[in-house]
């Protein structure tokens, strides 16, 4: 019997020591064990001794269990949360530099406007557009801008945060009462 193993995308949030070498411990763990990193972003937290890493990876349940366990084992990693296990909000920012012919400039601005993107730099032949949103939104604007001529594209990689739980708990409580 062939079982189709479903590879799911997971967003893992890592609270780590803000020390040199930690990123390479995490990256080395992924490469050494054959796991994949789709995107990664790192920045310090409010407590400057710690950093937060957001890693997007994929794998079946078994692979993800190994990834989280292995990450937990790294001494400089303080906490591992698989955000995909619950409700979360994710965002990504992209800076898109487009090469515009005079007749395309209005179209570029229209597209930016539709997506609530901002023009953050402009020259007679280029616009640089800043867009924030979930990855689908960013992919959509890229697809629309591509025919105009994308010169450069930078994406931050995803960041994500868990939705506060007491709200959903309160909603459930309300549902129970109405039921």
């Amino acid at each position: 019997m062939l079982l189709k193993i479903k590879n799911m995308e997971h967003i893992i949030s890592l609270l780590v020591e803000n020390k040199s070498g930690v990123l390479s411990r995490v990256a080395g763990l992924f490469s050494g064990r054959g796991f994949n990193i789709d995107s990664l972003s790192v920045s310090p937290t409010l407590d400057s001794t710690m950093s937060l890493m957001t890693i997007v990876t994929e794998g079946d349940e078994r692979v993800l269990e190994q990834i989280t366990k292995q990450l937990n084992k790294v001494i400089d990693i303080i906490k591992v949360v698989d955000l995909t296990e619950k409700e979360y909000v994710e965002r990504e920012t992209a800076l898109i530099k487009i090469h515009t012919r005079p007749e395309d400039r209005a179209e570029a601005l229209r597209v930016a406007d539709i997506f609530r993107a901002k023009v953050v730099d402009s020259t007679p032949h280029t616009y640089t557009i800043e867009i924030t949103g979930d990855p689908k939104k960013i992919n959509a604007i890229i697809n629309l801008l591509r025919p105009l001529g994308i010169k450069e594209l930078v994406r931050t990689g995803r960041i994500a945060i868990g939705r506060e739980e007491f709200k959903s708990a309160a909603i459930q409580e309300k549902k129970r009462q109405t039921a």
Partner: protein, 586 residues
């Protein structure tokens, strides 16, 4: 009072209870060696190659259960210990390894003898540190020992730049240590342990599969209690041998690629596999899809990543083997009913039948020494009252098969990494820890030549280790695979040009002995044991002897090759093979 980094280093080691440091000096660690010059409590063992130092530290650690300590210089000194780090990582061996580093202002400049050992060793240590400030030194050393020796033990490396050992600071040795990202689980989940107890009570054909984790957790007594109370037969991994007495009637010895026929059959046909401190290594499981097809699996391990890494587990228990077994034994004791000897009888009888059918054995003739005979004789002469180390290959497997280890920490060898050249320095480390114990290294002629320079260390420190070279003039295991799977094309496995080991020993001021005939083996071994000096014994053994049973790589463990294939036996072999494939009815 302010101390130099070098003085702080030595002081911290002493406060950690370190007695012996293995290593070799070099430019950037000279300040530390200068302090060592006056040191009375710490003994430094000067090796002849850094790889020897780290294997000695491993031998020391395995024999004592305490962290082995290494001090080497930067660059090549540091890179020479990498094999040992990986070895210690794979075999969960507690080590704290100090490497010198060029001064902090030179790091990254390709300075003389600079190597990024923190980068190099990152994937092969449990954790590592670069000390950038002398004020952090004491804290780092404290953390290093704590991390190396707790949870699943492993090697920790501390890189010490030259200016850190030269500059001065107050000694701030922390009495307590807390690492916020490190919190090993010791107590097993009570509910899970109860589930395990229930599964054990229900099982008809249970088997315990114990690994090195039992020895690391000092849980042999608890294991013995479990085995004797439940009458469950027990098999051990290569690393687990000694966790339970090998001469006990319920011991089935080692399982896996070179496990005994009855042992592998018992594992294959069990209905409950109780894994304790073992990790379902491929040399144990063979073809994983066909491993224990009819069994539920209980897996206890202190390292959560070991559980469900290779195989699905029904009852996972994360915890220290000692704590978990205590709890389990208590539950089992409270709920025990009936005479388990009667309950277990059919299962044990079945295993005994398998054993009678294909016992672990060899035939010693008159003319040529069988390697197994040497191992057998070592066991007969020591009765298990010795520390045995080995290198890697056929001789290692024969030792695991024929030497019945009766106590934990008496069997020291390289399991996970399979490091040739490990056994001899490991024996020296174990001997250093236990100067009055009989320490015997069973070596292959191929393996021994990888670290034979340590004969000088043995002579220098008068470490009375006995090295029994099982000399078959081949990389024997390679030759065996070539014979069985590559049509006897012995590519690069024959060791022509080996030295005269007796003369070699004498050149180092070590006693050299030789046995060429079976009749000489016992006398030579007795003589070696009698001499209170290092002895190198050259046993000329049958070069074509193979290690059986053998599970071909990738095969299921119940499908063993039991002897050299002979054409006329092929039909019979096939019939046996078929029979082996059949699984006992549930």
């Amino acid at each position: 009072m302010k101390l130099t980094g070098a003085e702080i280093f030595i002081e911290c080691l002493k406060r950690e209870g370190v007695k012996t440091v293995f290593g070799l000096p070099g430019g950037v660690v000279l300040k530390i060696f200068d302090v060592l010059y006056d040191e009375k409590e710490l003994e430094f063992v000067l090796v002849r190659h850094e790889q020897g130092a780290i294997h000695m530290a491993e031998g020391y650690a395995r024999a004592t259960g305490q962290a082995g300590v290494v001090l080497v210089t930067s660059g090549p000194g540091a890179t020479n210990i990498v094999t040992g780090l990986v070895n210690a990582m794979m075999d969960s061996c507690p080590l704290v390894v100090f490497t010198g580093q060029v001064s902090t202002n030179l790091i990254g400049n390709d300075a003389f003898q600079e190597a990024d050992i923190v980068g190099i060793s990152r994937p092969c240590t449990k954790h590592n540190y670069l000390v950038k400030d002398v004020n952090e030194l004491a804290q780092v050393i404290k953390e290093a020992f704590y991390i190396a020796t707790t949870g699943r033990p492993g090697p920790v490396l501390v890189d010490l730049p030259k200016d850190v050992s030269m500059s001065v600071a107050e000694l701030n040795y922390p009495e307590k240590v807390y690492v916020r990202g490190y919190n090993p689980t010791y107590e097993g989940n009570k509910w899970q342990i109860k589930q395990a107890a229930e599964a054990i009570a229900k099982a008809k054909r249970p088997i315990i599969y114990a690994g090195g984790g039992v020895i690391n957790a000092n849980a042999s007594e608890e294991l013995r209690e479990l085995v004797e109370m439940t009458q469950i037969p027990i098999t051990m991994t290569l690393m687990g041998l000694g966790a339970f007495p090998g001469n006990h009637s319920l011991s089935l010895g080692m399982l896996g690629m070179h496990g005994a026929y009855a042992t592998n059959m018992a594992v294959h046909n069990c209905d409950l596999l109780i894994a304790i401190g073992s990790r379902f290594d491929d040399r144990v499981t063979g073809k994983i899809a066909e491993f224990v097809p009819n069994a539920r699996i209980i897996h206890m391990d202190v390292d959560p990543t070991s559980i469900k890494k290779n195989i699905h587990v029904d009852i996972p228990i994360v915890g220290d083997a000692k704590a978990v077994l205590r709890e389990l034994n208590q539950i089992l004791k409270a709920t025990a009913n009936g005479n388990l000897k009667d309950v277990r009888y059919p299962w044990l009888k079945q295993i005994e039948e398998w054993n009678v059918k294909h016992p672990l054995t060899y035939t010693q003739g008159e003319d040529i020494i069988k390697p197994q005979y040497v191992i057998d004789m070592i066991f007969r002469l020591t009765r298990g009252d010795a520390i045995i180390t080995s290198d890697v290959g056929q001789h290692q497997m024969w030792t695991a098969q024929f030497y019945k280890f009766t106590k934990p920490r008496t069997w020291i060898n390289s399991g996970g990494l399979g490091t040739m050249g490990y056994g001899f320095p490991a024996a020296l480390g174990a001997q250093k820890a236990f100067p009055d114990s009989l320490v015997i290294c069973v070596a292959g002629d191929g393996s021994f030549q990888m670290n034979l320079q340590e004969l000088a260390t043995a002579a220098h420190y008068k470490l009375p280790v006995k090295v029994a070279i099982i000399n078959n003039q081949y990389h024997g295991m390679v030759r065996q695979w070539q014979q069985l799977f590559y049509n006897g094309r012995y590519s690069a496995s024959r060791l022509d040009g080996g030295p005269d080991y007796v003369k070699l020993a004498e050149a180092y001021g070590v006693v050299g002995l030789r046995a060429k005939k079976p009749s000489e083996v016992e006398a030579v071994l007795k003589e070696a044991i009698r001499i209170k000096r290092p002895v190198l014994i050259d046993f000329h053994v049958d070069p074509h002897e193979n290690c059986y049973p053998m599970v071909p790589a990738g095969g299921a463990i119940h499908q063993m090759v039991l002897e050299d294939p002979k054409p006329e036996q092929k039909a019979e072999q096939q019939r046996v093979e078929k029979e082996k494939e059949s699984i006992l009815p549930a």
